[in-house]
């Protein structure tokens, strides 16, 4: 072999070794399992593929947790992780799963709505792979994923995404965006099928109220806000008023011309009421400085403070009292709690009696105090996602 070829081979091997190190990290995230200790109210775990068998065995399938009091009352579906780079949604669902007490009605909880998207980070945004929540027994580790279904699970993208069934044109990558593919198609792409499975779950389980947890950038007008289908407008408006006792909250009605979103399509294609909740996440603003786990946890960023001083943000931002992960999870908890309570008032014959921690609890005691140690828990109550 010539010297030139040996040199080329050496470079190739060097880069393959580097790629190997990176691959180990990619695989680590892909197969990392988040642990959750379910509360006494838990009754059954099913899989999303139960409602659409053709996603069984794919990365689009995801666990669905039932908490059934066995007594009459509304069925409430709460899910997080439609966009896994907004992890407060998933963690808030975990907090509910670990602490829910239920006397009437039924909860269906899905922490990872788009499982595939949670197994890879966003290309070009240099995200850390995990975030860690301190607890009294150690650290609880969660994935920080992508906005869209992973390309290794759904590839190729079209050159433009035509939404089913409205035929509205959307950016090509939105065909992998779980919150743009509703109401979905039974024989569509993986993400469309996941959305369709959700619709089937909602229709077959006769869900009354759907709550979709998200986080939003602070430069995005729809931040710290309920986005509600028009049928749930009264409930969301009233809930927003009650939220003010603990935290500011806005309310907007889902625009009818913007298709594919849960708050539009679930409301249009099922009997359920649907409300999406956005809380402020500094980490995903495009103008922030260093993209680190620290920023994800403490939300402190100088550039964002400058944007705030210039009046460019749609929610208040103080670097000394920034929206930490505790704060963001806490917001989602109270926002969802007030929605359900308001639902009870509007539909007293279907009232749900329940408890889980709210904003003030989490702010006072810390997020970690509501996450239980899986190694010390009854193994039958520990699940992995």
């Amino acid at each position: 072999m010539s010297a030139s070829n040996i040199r080329k081979l050496a470079f190739l091997v060097l880069f393959l070794v580097l790629a190997g190190f990176a691959s180990a990290e990619f695989k680590g995230l892909r197969y990392f399992k988040e642990k959750v200790v379910v509360s006494e109210a838990f009754t059954e775990k099913r899989m999303l593929s139960d409602w659409l068998p053709n996603i069984k065995g794919t990365w689009g399938d995801t666990p669905v947790y039932f908490y059934d009091s066995g007594k009459p009352g509304a069925t409430v579906l709460i899910y997080g992780g439609a966009h896994p780079y907004e992890p407060a949604g998933t963690i808030a669902v975990y907090v509910i799963m670990e602490n829910l007490q239920l006397s009437n009605g039924r909860f269906i909880l899905i922490p990872r709505a788009d499982m595939s998207a949670s197994t890879e980070g966003i290309l070009g945004n240099a995200y850390p792979q995990y975030l860690h929540i301190p607890t009294s027994w150690g650290q609880q580790q969660y994935r920080i994923g992508d906005r869209e279904t992973a390309l290794i699970d759904q590839w190729p993208d079209p050159f433009t995404y035509v939404h089913y069934p409205s035929k509205q044109n959307l950016a090509y990558q939105d065909l992998r965006n779980f919150n743009r593919t509703f109401p979905g198609r039974a024989d569509g792409t993986l993400t469309e099928r996941m959305s369709f499975a959700f619709m089937e779950l909602i229709r077959n389980e006769k869900v009354d109220l759907v709550i979709d947890f998200h986080e939003a950038s602070l430069m995005y007008p729809v931040v710290d806000t309920y986005v509600t289908h028009q049928r749930a407008e009264d409930i969301a408006m009233m809930a927003a008023m009650y939220c003010q006792l603990e935290m500011p909250m806005k309310c907007e009605v889902s625009p009818k011309g913007l298709r594919g979103l849960t708050h539009r399509e679930i409301g249009d294609y099922s009997d359920a009421l649907c409300v999406l909740i956005e809380t402020a996440e500094p980490f995903i603003d495009r103008v922030v400085g260093r993209v680190t786990e620290q920023l994800m946890i403490d939300g402190k960023d100088e550039f964002l403070e400058r944007a705030s001083e210039k009046g460019l943000l749609y929610t208040s931002y103080d670097i000394n009292d920034a929206p930490t992960i505790d704060h963001r999870v806490a917001r989602l908890l109270t926002a969802s709690l007030e929605l359900i309570k308001m639902y009870d008032q509007f539909y007293p014959d279907k009232a749900v009696e329940f408890w889980y921690p709210r904003f003030t609890d989490v702010k006072t005691n810390g997020l970690g105090s509501y996450l239980h140690d899986p190694s010390a828990a009854d193994p039958s109550r520990v699940f992995e996602n």
Partner: protein
């Protein structure tokens, strides 16, 4: 339609691998840009094609 979509997905993975291997070939057998700098560039340009073909990222 689902099966067809799955077949297309695998065609893409194969395509990515095929072009990755063509780049490896070009690293050793190219006739233009033959200097050391481009040895390095060719060597790292292979990475994304192979990682995608192997369904790693």
């Amino acid at each position: 339609m689902v099966i067809l979509q799955e077949i297309i997905h695998y065609i893409y993975l194969i395509m990515s691998g095929f072009f990755g291997l063509l780049l490896v070939r070009a690293l050793f057998k190219r006739t233009t840009r033959t200097n050391l700098v481009y040895d390095i560039v060719y060597a790292y340009a292979v990475i994304p094609f192979l990682l995608r073909a192997l369904r790693i990222r």
